[in-house]
Symmetry: C2
């Protein structure tokens, strides 16, 4: 039977999880139907609010995500979750091991959870996540949570995709703040110190507060990222965290920053697709020995890689 994209999109918009899952698989695998799917989704975009969650391993991201889902459900919101695992570019699947907590939402028809492995070659979250976001957006979820471990580039990428980015920390992570500081101080709209019932929570909140204050070059009216204490495993502080998200959303909306962020996000997405398309054209040349011959000449010291790249590009444009 032929793939009926319009029907799939229709069913996804009615909230059928299998249709949502099928659409994400189609965009994730860069299937031939990808473009058809994207075209069918386009008229139904812009309704979801996208929240990114990131933090070092061990801060309780999965537990916090699950608690946030529960809190948003209490408000009657439909919630989509993308759990992105950037740890292995080799894995084609996704690690579900620590997603057990999510099981509590598995039977809720108004929650959709998807684990995604990021792809190595195409660069971290950049490739499949924006497209999966478009599927969930078109399916009418009120809030989409993207959760990823904060290592390398992934935390920056998630901030580029989200309307509001939550950075999670936990006490007793040793030099965790120190190690991560350069990145996290730039990307967090809201900070949550999870496991706030543990020793050292006060110190972590204080240290983080100091670092945020130090880094501040804010004008009056600018957003000042709040620090929320949570014990996600007992649902403590989760309503406060949701209130902080709502407050940031309000600020984004009032200042026009929401539109600016989304505009920037879409421009980046278009650019990334265009670069991938151009890259594929180069990739096609791999086969016909042209790049191989250029590489041989560079190896022999006859040519530098820039002149070689020039020859490659000349062939394209």
């Amino acid at each position: 039977m032929a793939l009926d994209v319009a029907d799939l999109v229709e069913r996804a918009r009615k909230g059928q999880p299998r249709a949502v899952g099928r659409l994400i698989s189609l965009v994730e695998d860069a299937s031939p139907a990808l473009r058809e799917v994207m075209a069918a989704l386009a008229p139904h975009s812009g309704t979801s609010y996208v929240v990114g969650l990131t933090g070092a391993p061990g801060v309780g991201k999965s537990t916090s995500t699950s608690a946030l889902v529960a809190g948003l459900r209490r408000q009657g919101k439909r919630v989509g979750v993308l759990a992105v695992d950037p740890s292995s570019p080799f894995s084609g699947g996704a690690l579900l091991g620590d997603r057990v907590r999510m099981q509590e939402h598995a039977t809720d028809p108004d929650v959709y959870i998807r684990s995604m492995a990021s792809r190595g070659h195409l660069g971290g979250l950049a490739w499949a996540t924006p497209q999966a976001l478009r599927v969930l957006d078109a399916a009418g979820f009120d809030v989409i949570l993207i959760e990823t471990v904060g290592v390398g580039q992934s935390e920056v990428e998630i901030a580029g995709l989200a309307d509001t980015t939550v950075v999670l920390l936990a006490p007793g992570m040793g030099d965790g703040i120190q190690a991560a500081k350069a990145g996290i101080l730039e990307i967090g709209d809201v900070y949550a110190v999870n496991k706030a019932d543990r020793d050292g929570a006060d110190a972590t909140v204080r240290e983080l507060g100091n670092m945020l204050a130090l880094g501040e070059r804010r004008a009056p009216g600018d957003w000042r990222p709040p620090i929320v204490r949570t014990v996600a495993v007992r649902n403590e502080g989760i309503d406060e965290l949701i209130a902080a998200l709502d407050k940031h959303r309000g600020w984004l909306t009032e200042t026009g920053e929401l539109t600016r962020r989304r505009h920037r996000r879409v421009a980046d997405e278009i650019e990334a697709i265009a670069v991938t398309a151009l890259r594929e054209r180069i990739g096609d040349l791999h086969g016909d020995q042209r790049l191989e011959a250029l590489a041989d000449r560079v190896l022999a010291g006859e040519l530098d890689p820039y002149l070689a790249a020039d020859e490659l590009v000349e062939n394209l444009v």
Copy 2:
């Protein structure tokens, strides 16, 4: 005074560290002289042996690198070191905090050490490292060590740049092996369990050995990555590690795999430069409102990002 690239290259080849440093700065900053530098370096390439070192934070990478440098110096080798910090795409500089151990080599004219921050936008190590490698190669270093923390994509990228890749582990890293396994099992040519005097070293060696055996789909004659025990802080096991590197180099040379790896590396480098060049052409369009207008139409649901990217690419080719 005008920049005299030929003179700089000449002085770098005579071992003058300031000339080497200046050339790396020129290529790292994508200066206008970049192409001239690359062209001047081209005839002097292919003499250095490139060793990559990677591992999770805390395994003792910096100490191991320093001990390796000392060991290679005892053999009379000239050594270049690139310490790449992928942790912050925002930092323009490089974190030298934990490079203190390297100071012992600071006055040795046959050792050149350079810390590099990776660039966020252009993607991890991909951009500046191959070019810095070319400088050190042309400057005639016998061995170049590239050291980077194994998070996200960086460990894969380092394996793509090195002739031989060393993956460092340490006992007592908890689920470190588990978390990292998908990546490290694919990239290590040699494994070193550092801090081998600590509790749990035997277990780490055993666990790693089992995982390597499990993942094996090797034909007879294929390289089997050895596991070396080191206590880098006391220089223990370093000669054994160097012997393992030599053995791998011998295997690469005999089987012709060295040439194949270098060919692949150069082809990847050419491709990356070509993609960057094409990306810059797209970037030029940012200014003239074209991408902005397309993003507006996507935001309004009139267009999907793929069709928008098509329009962008059409304009180029």
